[in-house]
């Protein structure tokens, strides 16, 4: 079982790239430890800015740095980054087109028993609604690294959500990666699963379990929520009767909504959206919550069988 978290993969990648790029700057809000970015701050103190517990300031300062040529990575808990500083993300980053990558750490229900204040089940919706903002939720450490490398090659704003715990490896360092092209993990004839982030390993297990039951399931890792890779989605959805989305997010404005929007206009299919409910969530670890809300492999298999 892999122990390297996606946030650590981001730090490792930035440490490597900063060796030859003094314009890479990391900004944190008393979050360098929880973002696994302390090694960056120690290695490149001249390229690290501490904003204190002040998320609006974090994003505003990041935009100012970027407007003067810096490639800025601003990391803060997804919950606070995407709501407390939402207007700075809208005006100073998205509208102004500054070269800032917002990294929402401990996304979704990563914080478990810390409760609703710390959950970010709205971040896909909030960030997707901003004109000029791209939204990503990579699954494993290899995809996360490829994503950071790709974002370093352009200057447009982006939001990335990563979770707190390590995710099982899906890929390896030689994986195929093209920015804004989804990764197809499995092809299937009966059902197409579309998942992102920490849900991808569960969906991958579900594909295997469905296969044992004689159900042919495909799987797309839709790490790019905006712009959604609708071409790959439509291509794979054409072969099946049922599409199932799986995401660690509220029902409104996330992966399920984006997939529904794309399919309804280009390839109407029966759609089951698996997500967190629009209600105050139970207490528990993230894995306990995934199981409770039917987002784990067993829950996905059950939903597919019921729908078929």
């Amino acid at each position: 079982m892999n122990k390297i978290t996606n946030r650590q993969a981001i730090c490792d990648c930035l440490l490597e790239k900063a060796k030859s790029d003094r314009n890479i700057v990391v900004v944190c809000s008393d979050s360098r430890g929880s973002a696994s970015l302390a090694p960056f701050a120690e290695t490149y103190p001249g390229q690290f800015v501490e904003a204190g517990i002040a998320e609006q300031n974090l994003v505003g300062i990041s935009a100012g740095l970027a407007a003067c040529g810096k490639k800025v990575f601003a990391a803060s808990p997804a919950s606070f980054l995407t709501t407390r500083s939402y207007e700075q993300a809208k005006v100073d980053v998205a509208y102004s087109g500054t070269n800032v990558t917002l990294i929402g750490i401990s996304g979704g229900v990563s914080y478990g028993a810390l409760g609703m204040t710390h959950h970010s089940c709205q971040d896909f919706a909030a960030m997707s609604a901003l004109t000029g903002m791209r939204v990503y939720n990579p699954s494993d450490r290899f995809q996360t690294t490829k994503l950071i490398e790709a974002l370093l090659k352009d200057t447009a704003p982006a939001y990335i959500r990563v979770s707190r715990s390590a995710t099982e490896d899906i890929y390896d360092e030689n994986m195929d990666f093209t920015l804004n092209r989804a990764n197809v993990i499995a092809d299937g004839k009966d059902v197409l699963l579309v998942a992102c982030g920490e849900m991808v390993p569960y969906a991958k297990k579900a594909v295997e379990q469905l296969g044992e039951k004689g159900i042919s399931a495909g799987l797309i890792d839709m790490y790019c929520l905006k712009p959604l890779d609708a071409d790959t989605l439509v291509e794979k959805a054409r072969d099946v009767k049922l599409v199932v989305t799986v995401e660690e997010h509220a029902p409104q404005g996330g992966l399920g909504s984006a997939v529904a929007q794309a399919l309804s206009s280009r390839c109407p299919r029966r759609l089951v959206e698996k997500n967190l409910p629009d209600e105050h969530l139970i207490s528990g670890t993230n894995r306990e919550m995934f199981a409770y809300y039917g987002l784990d492999d067993a829950g996905i298999v059950k939903s597919v069988e019921e729908a078929l």
């Binding site: 204190g52 407007a67 100073d92």
Partner: protein, 272 residues
């Protein structure tokens, strides 16, 4: 009359023409901030159309972005674009000269308009200068009504934390906002003490519409080392047009033809 003061009144005439043609804009604040903008762009800052894309030009942010009208005539006068085109098309269909600063307009650093954003962005710009050992300075102009936005105080803390002596804020303290006086709506007083308690170098311009006083204030700011500076400019909202001065209705009032003619006459008398 000195050249800067003359220019500030010529630019007032442009603002009045722009506001009257468009029947839009924020004339009261334009007239309180125009001397600050004139002094910065024509005496203090190292920025012009030729060096605007260079890494080391001075940065300017109009955090009280609704006074874009005044900024546009100043940038036009500075040669960033045809000033008359800005006057003629301000707030019109498909014009880039909308009611707030935006980067479709040459000379504007970043989009603004929502209050309480500029100082944090300015902190980032000043930090970037320190990182790269560049000598450019960053100037941010705020309104006193805007000082109710809490984000300003986050930025004030960070500016002191990083000893940003290359950052200079200005508060256009005209004591009025859309609903009434700032004291009635939400007092930001005492602003000098607030900035001082946050570790800033505070410079007061008793007459913030006096160009000579402003020049002196910005020179003092540039000479201060180890901490950020703020110029508290005690201005008059609507300054230069007799019937607009200190009247809240001219926050974003539009003029009748008769009022327009009176406003122009007031300004022409000063210029004469």
């Amino acid at each position: 009359m000195d050249a800067l003061t003359r220019k500030s009144y010529e630019l007032r005439r442009d603002v009045i023409e722009m506001i009257h043609k468009s029947q839009a804009g924020h004339v009261g604040g334009d007239l309180s901030v125009i001397d600050i903008l004139t002094v910065l762009y024509f005496d203090i800052m190292n920025v012009n159309p030729d060096n605007f894309k260079d890494d080391n030009h001075d940065r300017f942010l109009l955090s009280k972005g609704h006074c874009a009208d005044a900024l546009f005539v100043v940038l036009g006068e500075k040669g960033f674009f045809d000033k008359q085109r800005a006057i003629d098309t301000f707030s019109q269909y498909q014009s880039e000269f909308i009611g707030h600063p935006n980067t479709d307009v040459n000379g504007v650093e970043i989009n603004s308009g929502s209050l309480g954003h500029g100082l944090a962005v300015g902190v980032g710009m000043a930090l970037a200068a320190k990182m790269d050992d560049r000598t450019y300075r960053t100037y941010v102009v705020l309104g006193d009504g805007e000082m109710a936005e809490g984000s300003n105080y986050e930025a004030m803390m960070a500016a002191r934390q990083y000893q940003l002596d290359n950052l200079c804020a200005t508060v256009d303290l005209n004591r009025l906002q859309i609903s009434g006086t700032t004291d009635q709506v939400m007092s930001s007083a005492p602003l000098a003490e607030k900035f001082a308690s946050f570790g800033w170098n505070v410079i007061e311009a008793e007459d913030g519409n006096n160009c000579a006083q402003l020049v002196e204030a910005y020179k003092k700011a540039a000479a201060c080392k180890g901490k950020p500076s703020v110029v508290i400019a005690h201005t008059v909202k609507g300054k230069g047009v007799s019937f607009m001065e200190n009247e809240k209705k001219w926050h974003h009032g539009v003029m009748t033809q008769e009022e327009y003619e009176r406003a122009v006459k007031d300004i022409e008398e000063v210029l004469a």
